[in-house]
Protein backbone atom coordinates (compact mmCIF):
# COMPACT_ATOMS: atom_id res chain seq x y z
CA UNK A 1 0.00 0.00 0.00
CA UNK A 2 1.34 3.43 -0.90
CA UNK A 3 1.49 5.77 2.07
CA UNK A 4 2.08 9.52 2.23
CA UNK A 5 5.51 8.96 3.76
CA UNK A 6 6.39 6.59 0.88
CA UNK A 7 5.52 9.38 -1.57
CA UNK A 8 7.33 12.10 0.35
CA UNK A 9 10.52 10.11 0.69
CA UNK A 10 10.61 9.79 -3.09
CA UNK A 11 9.72 13.39 -3.91
CA UNK A 12 13.34 14.44 -4.38
CA UNK A 13 13.97 11.67 -6.91
CA UNK A 14 10.60 12.39 -8.53
CA UNK A 15 11.41 16.09 -8.99
CA UNK A 16 14.81 15.23 -10.46
CA UNK A 17 13.28 12.56 -12.72
CA UNK A 18 15.44 9.80 -11.26
CA UNK A 19 12.68 7.26 -10.63
CA UNK A 20 11.69 4.49 -13.02
CA UNK A 21 8.74 5.58 -15.27
CA UNK A 22 6.16 3.40 -13.50
CA UNK A 23 7.08 4.89 -10.11
CA UNK A 24 7.02 8.44 -11.57
CA UNK A 25 3.46 7.67 -12.76
CA UNK A 26 2.37 6.37 -9.36
CA UNK A 27 3.60 9.53 -7.65
CA UNK A 28 2.12 11.77 -10.31
CA UNK A 29 -1.30 10.14 -9.87
CA UNK A 30 -1.04 10.41 -6.08
CA UNK A 31 -0.18 14.12 -6.28
CA UNK A 32 -3.32 14.78 -8.32
CA UNK A 33 -5.50 13.46 -5.51
CA UNK A 34 -3.57 14.32 -2.31
CA UNK A 35 -3.39 17.98 -1.31
CA UNK A 36 -0.93 17.43 1.57
CA UNK A 37 1.63 15.68 -0.61
CA UNK A 38 1.09 18.26 -3.35
CA UNK A 39 2.04 21.04 -0.91
CA UNK A 40 5.11 19.03 0.18
CA UNK A 41 6.00 18.63 -3.51
CA UNK A 42 5.69 22.36 -4.21
CA UNK A 43 7.78 23.23 -1.16
CA UNK A 44 10.49 20.78 -2.05
CA UNK A 45 10.59 22.05 -5.65
CA UNK A 46 11.11 25.60 -4.34
CA UNK A 47 13.82 24.51 -1.90
CA UNK A 48 15.66 22.62 -4.64
CA UNK A 49 15.43 25.68 -6.90
CA UNK A 50 16.92 27.91 -4.19
CA UNK A 51 19.64 25.37 -3.42
CA UNK A 52 20.50 24.63 -7.03
CA UNK A 53 20.93 28.26 -7.97
CA UNK A 54 23.36 29.26 -5.32
CA UNK A 55 25.19 26.29 -3.86
CA UNK A 56 28.87 26.31 -4.67
CA UNK A 57 31.19 23.45 -3.84
CA UNK A 58 33.55 24.06 -0.90
CA UNK A 59 36.47 22.86 -3.05
CA UNK A 60 35.82 25.77 -5.44
CA UNK A 61 36.65 28.19 -2.65
CA UNK A 62 40.26 26.98 -2.47
CA UNK A 63 42.92 28.40 -4.76
CA UNK A 64 44.41 26.67 -7.80
CA UNK A 65 47.74 26.63 -5.95
CA UNK A 66 46.12 24.74 -3.07
CA UNK A 67 44.97 21.97 -5.40
CA UNK A 68 48.21 21.90 -7.38
CA UNK A 69 50.16 21.10 -4.23
CA UNK A 70 47.59 18.87 -2.50
CA UNK A 71 48.95 15.55 -3.80
CA UNK A 72 52.51 16.60 -2.96
CA UNK A 73 51.47 17.39 0.61
CA UNK A 74 49.81 13.96 0.91
CA UNK A 75 53.01 12.30 -0.34
CA UNK A 76 55.09 14.25 2.17
CA UNK A 77 52.82 13.17 5.00
CA UNK A 78 53.07 9.55 3.90
CA UNK A 79 56.85 9.86 3.99
CA UNK A 80 56.66 11.31 7.49
CA UNK A 81 54.33 8.50 8.63
CA UNK A 82 56.78 5.94 7.27
CA UNK A 83 59.58 7.65 9.19
CA UNK A 84 57.48 7.41 12.34
CA UNK A 85 56.97 3.67 11.81
CA UNK A 86 60.70 3.12 11.50
CA UNK A 87 61.19 5.11 14.71
CA UNK A 88 58.60 2.97 16.48
CA UNK A 89 60.50 -0.18 15.58
CA UNK A 90 63.57 0.96 17.51
CA UNK A 91 62.32 -0.17 20.98
CA UNK A 92 62.05 -3.77 19.64
CA UNK A 93 65.66 -3.81 18.60
CA UNK A 94 66.45 -2.31 22.00
CA UNK A 95 64.66 -5.27 23.61
CA UNK A 96 66.78 -7.73 21.61
CA UNK A 97 69.88 -5.93 22.70
CA UNK A 98 68.67 -6.13 26.30
CA UNK A 99 68.15 -9.92 25.98
CA UNK A 100 71.58 -10.34 24.42
CA UNK A 101 73.11 -8.30 27.19
CA UNK A 102 71.54 -10.39 29.99
CA UNK A 103 73.63 -12.33 32.48
CA UNK A 104 74.52 -15.75 31.12
CA UNK A 105 72.72 -17.62 33.94
CA UNK A 106 69.38 -15.85 33.23
CA UNK A 107 69.76 -16.44 29.49
CA UNK A 108 70.59 -20.12 30.10
CA UNK A 109 67.52 -20.65 32.30
CA UNK A 110 65.21 -19.06 29.67
CA UNK A 111 66.69 -21.20 26.88
CA UNK A 112 66.39 -24.28 29.14
CA UNK A 113 62.71 -23.50 29.79
CA UNK A 114 61.98 -23.29 26.05
CA UNK A 115 63.89 -26.54 25.44
CA UNK A 116 61.81 -28.38 28.11
CA UNK A 117 58.54 -27.13 26.53
CA UNK A 118 59.74 -28.20 23.05
CA UNK A 119 60.74 -31.68 24.35
CA UNK A 120 57.35 -32.17 26.02
CA UNK A 121 55.60 -31.17 22.77
CA UNK A 122 57.60 -33.66 20.67
CA UNK A 123 57.01 -36.49 23.18
CA UNK A 124 53.26 -35.79 23.09
CA UNK A 125 53.23 -35.75 19.28
CA UNK A 126 55.16 -39.01 19.03
CA UNK A 127 52.97 -40.90 21.55
CA UNK A 128 51.26 -43.82 19.76
CA UNK A 129 47.51 -43.47 19.73
CA UNK A 130 45.57 -46.15 21.62
CA UNK A 131 42.79 -47.90 19.67
CA UNK A 132 40.24 -45.73 21.52
CA UNK A 133 42.12 -42.60 20.56
CA UNK A 134 42.26 -43.71 16.93
CA UNK A 135 38.51 -44.28 16.95
CA UNK A 136 37.94 -40.81 18.33
CA UNK A 137 40.08 -39.33 15.60
CA UNK A 138 38.01 -41.07 12.92
CA UNK A 139 34.70 -40.21 14.56
CA UNK A 140 35.51 -36.51 15.00
CA UNK A 141 37.27 -35.16 11.92
CA UNK A 142 38.80 -31.70 12.26
CA UNK A 143 36.53 -29.25 10.42
CA UNK A 144 38.09 -27.55 7.41
CA UNK A 145 38.55 -23.77 7.36
CA UNK A 146 35.54 -23.43 5.03
CA UNK A 147 33.33 -25.51 7.31
CA UNK A 148 34.33 -23.34 10.24
CA UNK A 149 33.37 -20.19 8.29
CA UNK A 150 30.01 -21.79 7.38
CA UNK A 151 29.42 -22.66 11.02
CA UNK A 152 30.26 -19.14 12.18
CA UNK A 153 28.09 -17.68 9.45
CA UNK A 154 25.15 -19.91 10.48
CA UNK A 155 25.53 -18.75 14.09
CA UNK A 156 25.82 -15.12 12.99
CA UNK A 157 22.65 -15.43 10.90
CA UNK A 158 20.73 -17.04 13.77
CA UNK A 159 21.70 -14.21 16.13
CA UNK A 160 20.92 -11.59 13.47
CA UNK A 161 17.51 -13.13 12.84
CA UNK A 162 16.68 -13.07 16.56
CA UNK A 163 17.74 -9.44 16.81
CA UNK A 164 15.83 -8.36 13.68
CA UNK A 165 12.66 -10.10 14.88
CA UNK A 166 13.09 -8.49 18.31
CA UNK A 167 13.51 -5.04 16.77
CA UNK A 168 10.55 -5.49 14.46
CA UNK A 169 8.26 -6.48 17.33
CA UNK A 170 9.57 -3.99 19.89
CA UNK A 171 6.82 -1.79 21.30
CA UNK A 172 7.13 1.05 23.82
CA UNK A 173 5.32 0.85 27.14
CA UNK A 174 2.57 3.49 27.40
CA UNK A 175 4.05 6.97 27.64
CA UNK A 176 7.64 5.74 27.85
CA UNK A 177 10.38 5.68 25.20
CA UNK A 178 11.36 2.38 23.60
CA UNK A 179 13.99 0.58 25.67
CA UNK A 180 16.54 -0.98 23.32
CA UNK A 181 19.62 -1.14 25.54
CA UNK A 182 19.92 -4.91 25.15
CA UNK A 183 19.44 -4.64 21.37
CA UNK A 184 22.15 -1.98 21.13
CA UNK A 185 24.55 -4.20 23.05
CA UNK A 186 23.74 -7.18 20.81
CA UNK A 187 24.12 -4.98 17.70
CA UNK A 188 27.60 -3.90 18.76
CA UNK A 189 28.64 -7.54 19.17
CA UNK A 190 27.20 -8.42 15.76
CA UNK A 191 28.94 -5.47 14.07
CA UNK A 192 32.24 -6.80 15.42
CA UNK A 193 31.40 -10.31 14.20
CA UNK A 194 30.43 -8.96 10.77
CA UNK A 195 33.81 -7.26 10.44
CA UNK A 196 35.58 -10.59 10.92
CA UNK A 197 33.77 -11.95 7.84
CA UNK A 198 35.38 -9.32 5.61
CA UNK A 199 38.49 -11.42 5.26
CA UNK A 200 36.62 -14.71 4.73
CA UNK A 201 35.91 -16.26 1.35
CA UNK A 202 32.14 -15.57 1.31
CA UNK A 203 30.08 -15.69 -1.88
CA UNK A 204 29.08 -12.19 -3.14
CA UNK A 205 25.42 -12.57 -2.08
CA UNK A 206 26.33 -13.47 1.51
CA UNK A 207 29.01 -10.77 1.67
CA UNK A 208 26.39 -8.23 0.55
CA UNK A 209 23.92 -9.46 3.16
CA UNK A 210 26.56 -9.20 5.90
CA UNK A 211 27.22 -5.61 4.74
CA UNK A 212 23.49 -4.74 4.78
CA UNK A 213 23.06 -6.25 8.26
CA UNK A 214 26.14 -4.42 9.49
CA UNK A 215 24.67 -1.09 8.36
CA UNK A 216 21.40 -1.74 10.19
CA UNK A 217 23.20 -2.89 13.36
CA UNK A 218 25.45 0.18 13.32
CA UNK A 219 22.30 2.32 13.18
CA UNK A 220 20.81 0.43 16.14
CA UNK A 221 24.05 0.70 18.13
CA UNK A 222 24.23 4.44 17.48
CA UNK A 223 20.62 5.23 18.33
CA UNK A 224 20.54 8.19 20.67
CA UNK A 225 18.41 7.81 23.83
CA UNK A 226 16.55 11.06 23.15
CA UNK A 227 15.45 10.03 19.63
CA UNK A 228 14.87 6.34 20.11
CA UNK A 229 11.24 6.11 19.12
CA UNK A 230 11.76 8.03 15.86
CA UNK A 231 15.02 6.25 15.05
CA UNK A 232 13.68 2.79 15.78
CA UNK A 233 10.76 3.43 13.42
CA UNK A 234 13.26 4.37 10.73
CA UNK A 235 15.35 1.27 11.38
CA UNK A 236 12.24 -0.90 11.24
CA UNK A 237 11.28 0.56 7.91
CA UNK A 238 14.85 -0.08 6.70
CA UNK A 239 14.55 -3.74 7.72
CA UNK A 240 11.24 -4.01 5.87
CA UNK A 241 12.35 -2.15 2.77
CA UNK A 242 15.47 -4.20 2.32
CA UNK A 243 13.55 -7.37 3.04
CA UNK A 244 16.28 -8.36 5.46
CA UNK A 245 14.45 -11.06 7.40
CA UNK A 246 13.64 -12.90 4.19
CA UNK A 247 17.23 -12.60 2.97
CA UNK A 248 18.54 -13.91 6.32
CA UNK A 249 16.21 -16.92 6.12
CA UNK A 250 17.37 -17.64 2.57
CA UNK A 251 21.00 -17.41 3.65
CA UNK A 252 20.32 -19.72 6.60
CA UNK A 253 19.12 -22.33 4.13
CA UNK A 254 22.50 -22.06 2.42
CA UNK A 255 24.62 -22.28 5.54
CA UNK A 256 22.71 -24.56 7.94
CA UNK A 257 22.97 -27.78 5.83
CA UNK A 258 26.76 -27.43 5.90
CA UNK A 259 26.55 -28.24 9.60
CA UNK A 260 24.39 -31.30 9.04
CA UNK A 261 21.30 -29.68 10.50
Amino acid sequence: MITHSYIRRRLYEYIRGELPPEEQDVIERHLLTCKRCRIAHEQMTLTIQVLSGDTSLPSEERSVEFWNTFATRVEEQIQRTRGAVVQKETPISDAFQWILGMRWRTALSIVGGFAAIAAAFFLWQGHPATPDNRQTEVAMPVPSALERVDERMAQYLRKSQTLLVGLTNKRAAAGRPVDIDAEREASRALVNEARLFRHEPLDPRSARLVGDLERIFIEVANTEPSRRTADIDMIRSGIRQENLLFKVRMAQARFEPAQGK
Binding site: E13, T55, S56
Partner: protein, 187 residues
Protein backbone atom coordinates in the same frame (compact mmCIF):
# COMPACT_ATOMS: atom_id res chain seq x y z
CA UNK B 1 24.39 -4.71 -7.89
CA UNK B 2 27.26 -2.54 -6.67
CA UNK B 3 29.62 -1.51 -9.47
CA UNK B 4 33.33 -1.94 -8.92
CA UNK B 5 35.98 0.52 -10.08
CA UNK B 6 36.32 1.29 -13.80
CA UNK B 7 38.98 -0.61 -15.77
CA UNK B 8 41.25 2.43 -15.88
CA UNK B 9 40.90 3.04 -12.17
CA UNK B 10 41.47 -0.63 -11.45
CA UNK B 11 44.80 -0.38 -13.30
CA UNK B 12 45.78 2.65 -11.24
CA UNK B 13 44.90 0.84 -8.01
CA UNK B 14 46.91 -2.23 -9.05
CA UNK B 15 49.93 -0.11 -9.95
CA UNK B 16 49.65 1.89 -6.74
CA UNK B 17 49.55 -1.37 -4.78
CA UNK B 18 52.75 -2.41 -6.49
CA UNK B 19 54.34 0.80 -5.26
CA UNK B 20 53.88 3.17 -8.22
CA UNK B 21 53.95 6.71 -6.84
CA UNK B 22 52.63 8.13 -10.11
CA UNK B 23 49.59 5.87 -10.00
CA UNK B 24 48.81 6.81 -6.39
CA UNK B 25 49.28 10.49 -7.20
CA UNK B 26 46.87 10.11 -10.09
CA UNK B 27 44.26 8.56 -7.76
CA UNK B 28 44.71 11.44 -5.30
CA UNK B 29 44.33 14.06 -8.02
CA UNK B 30 41.22 12.39 -9.38
CA UNK B 31 39.40 12.28 -6.07
CA UNK B 32 40.90 15.04 -3.91
CA UNK B 33 38.19 17.63 -4.57
CA UNK B 34 35.28 15.32 -3.95
CA UNK B 35 36.95 13.92 -0.81
CA UNK B 36 37.43 17.50 0.35
CA UNK B 37 33.77 18.33 -0.31
CA UNK B 38 32.57 15.28 1.61
CA UNK B 39 34.85 16.18 4.53
CA UNK B 40 33.64 19.77 4.45
CA UNK B 41 30.02 18.64 4.53
CA UNK B 42 30.72 17.18 7.96
CA UNK B 43 33.33 19.39 9.59
CA UNK B 44 32.18 22.70 8.11
CA UNK B 45 35.55 24.44 8.00
CA UNK B 46 38.27 24.54 5.37
CA UNK B 47 41.17 23.73 7.66
CA UNK B 48 39.36 20.70 9.09
CA UNK B 49 38.31 19.51 5.63
CA UNK B 50 41.90 19.73 4.40
CA UNK B 51 43.22 17.72 7.35
CA UNK B 52 40.52 15.06 7.02
CA UNK B 53 40.97 14.72 3.23
CA UNK B 54 44.75 14.37 3.56
CA UNK B 55 44.46 11.86 6.40
CA UNK B 56 41.95 9.87 4.32
CA UNK B 57 44.44 9.53 1.44
CA UNK B 58 47.13 8.40 3.87
CA UNK B 59 44.75 5.71 5.17
CA UNK B 60 43.93 4.73 1.59
CA UNK B 61 47.64 4.37 0.85
CA UNK B 62 48.16 2.24 3.95
CA UNK B 63 45.22 -0.06 3.28
CA UNK B 64 45.14 -0.33 -0.52
CA UNK B 65 45.87 -4.03 -0.07
CA UNK B 66 42.54 -4.55 1.68
CA UNK B 67 40.46 -2.84 -1.04
CA UNK B 68 38.51 -5.71 -2.54
CA UNK B 69 36.92 -3.82 -5.41
CA UNK B 70 33.36 -4.76 -4.36
CA UNK B 71 32.39 -1.11 -4.53
CA UNK B 72 33.70 1.88 -6.44
CA UNK B 73 36.99 3.30 -5.23
CA UNK B 74 35.29 6.65 -4.54
CA UNK B 75 32.66 4.99 -2.30
CA UNK B 76 35.42 3.34 -0.29
CA UNK B 77 37.34 6.62 -0.06
CA UNK B 78 34.25 8.61 1.00
CA UNK B 79 33.51 6.05 3.69
CA UNK B 80 37.00 6.60 5.11
CA UNK B 81 36.48 10.37 4.88
CA UNK B 82 33.12 10.01 6.64
CA UNK B 83 34.57 7.95 9.49
CA UNK B 84 37.45 10.37 10.00
CA UNK B 85 35.08 13.35 9.89
CA UNK B 86 32.70 11.81 12.42
CA UNK B 87 35.62 11.03 14.74
CA UNK B 88 36.78 14.61 14.42
CA UNK B 89 33.30 15.91 15.19
CA UNK B 90 33.13 13.68 18.27
CA UNK B 91 36.43 15.07 19.52
CA UNK B 92 35.24 18.64 18.91
CA UNK B 93 31.95 17.95 20.67
CA UNK B 94 33.73 16.48 23.70
CA UNK B 95 36.00 19.51 23.87
CA UNK B 96 33.03 21.88 23.53
CA UNK B 97 31.11 20.04 26.24
CA UNK B 98 34.00 20.62 28.61
CA UNK B 99 34.18 24.31 27.65
CA UNK B 100 30.42 24.86 27.57
CA UNK B 101 29.90 23.44 31.05
CA UNK B 102 30.90 26.84 32.40
CA UNK B 103 28.40 28.73 30.23
CA UNK B 104 24.74 29.28 31.01
CA UNK B 105 22.01 27.69 28.90
CA UNK B 106 21.06 31.15 27.70
CA UNK B 107 24.42 31.56 25.97
CA UNK B 108 24.24 28.15 24.32
CA UNK B 109 20.71 28.74 23.04
CA UNK B 110 21.61 32.02 21.43
CA UNK B 111 23.84 30.36 18.84
CA UNK B 112 20.89 29.24 16.65
CA UNK B 113 20.41 31.27 13.48
CA UNK B 114 16.81 32.27 12.97
CA UNK B 115 16.50 34.52 9.98
CA UNK B 116 17.88 37.01 7.53
CA UNK B 117 20.83 39.17 8.41
CA UNK B 118 21.51 42.37 6.49
CA UNK B 119 24.29 42.29 3.92
CA UNK B 120 24.40 38.52 3.54
CA UNK B 121 24.61 36.99 0.04
CA UNK B 122 22.07 34.35 -0.94
CA UNK B 123 24.78 31.67 -0.99
CA UNK B 124 25.78 32.63 2.55
CA UNK B 125 22.19 32.24 3.74
CA UNK B 126 22.02 28.80 2.17
CA UNK B 127 25.38 27.72 3.51
CA UNK B 128 24.46 28.84 6.98
CA UNK B 129 21.09 27.07 6.89
CA UNK B 130 22.78 23.95 5.55
CA UNK B 131 25.28 23.87 8.35
CA UNK B 132 22.64 24.17 11.00
CA UNK B 133 21.15 20.83 9.97
CA UNK B 134 21.92 17.78 12.15
CA UNK B 135 25.13 16.06 10.98
CA UNK B 136 23.57 13.16 9.09
CA UNK B 137 20.89 15.26 7.38
CA UNK B 138 23.56 17.77 6.33
CA UNK B 139 25.81 15.02 5.01
CA UNK B 140 22.97 13.44 3.02
CA UNK B 141 21.85 16.77 1.53
CA UNK B 142 25.42 17.63 0.49
CA UNK B 143 26.38 14.20 -0.81
CA UNK B 144 23.10 13.67 -2.61
CA UNK B 145 22.24 17.16 -3.82
CA UNK B 146 25.52 19.08 -4.00
CA UNK B 147 27.91 16.26 -4.91
CA UNK B 148 25.24 14.49 -6.99
CA UNK B 149 25.83 10.96 -5.66
CA UNK B 150 23.10 8.32 -5.94
CA UNK B 151 21.00 7.17 -2.98
CA UNK B 152 22.77 3.79 -3.05
CA UNK B 153 26.23 5.39 -3.03
CA UNK B 154 25.28 7.62 -0.10
CA UNK B 155 23.83 4.65 1.80
CA UNK B 156 27.08 2.73 1.35
CA UNK B 157 29.20 5.72 2.39
CA UNK B 158 27.16 6.48 5.50
CA UNK B 159 26.51 2.79 6.24
CA UNK B 160 22.77 3.11 6.52
CA UNK B 161 19.84 1.83 4.46
CA UNK B 162 18.62 3.59 1.32
CA UNK B 163 15.34 4.25 3.16
CA UNK B 164 17.24 6.11 5.87
CA UNK B 165 19.03 8.22 3.25
CA UNK B 166 15.69 9.18 1.70
CA UNK B 167 14.24 10.07 5.09
CA UNK B 168 17.27 12.19 6.05
CA UNK B 169 17.09 13.94 2.67
CA UNK B 170 13.39 14.70 2.99
CA UNK B 171 13.70 15.93 6.58
CA UNK B 172 16.85 17.91 5.80
CA UNK B 173 15.27 19.69 2.84
CA UNK B 174 12.11 20.31 4.85
CA UNK B 175 14.16 22.00 7.59
CA UNK B 176 16.11 24.00 5.01
CA UNK B 177 12.85 25.15 3.50
CA UNK B 178 11.68 26.47 6.86
CA UNK B 179 14.99 28.22 7.45
CA UNK B 180 14.97 29.77 3.96
CA UNK B 181 11.28 30.65 3.86
CA UNK B 182 11.90 34.38 3.89
CA UNK B 183 14.18 34.09 0.82
CA UNK B 184 11.50 32.30 -1.17
CA UNK B 185 8.92 34.96 -0.24
CA UNK B 186 11.25 37.70 -1.52
CA UNK B 187 11.61 36.03 -4.93
Amino acid sequence: MPAGPSAEEEQLILRAREGSRDAFRCLVERHMKSAYNVAYSFVNDHHGAEEVAQEAFIRVYQSLESFRGDSEFSTWLYRIVTNLSLNRLKQIRRRQEREVSSLTEEHVGSVEYTGAMPGMEMSEHIERALHELPTMQRAVVILRHVDGLSTRQVSRILRCSEGTVKTHLFRGLEKMKKKLDYLQKDR
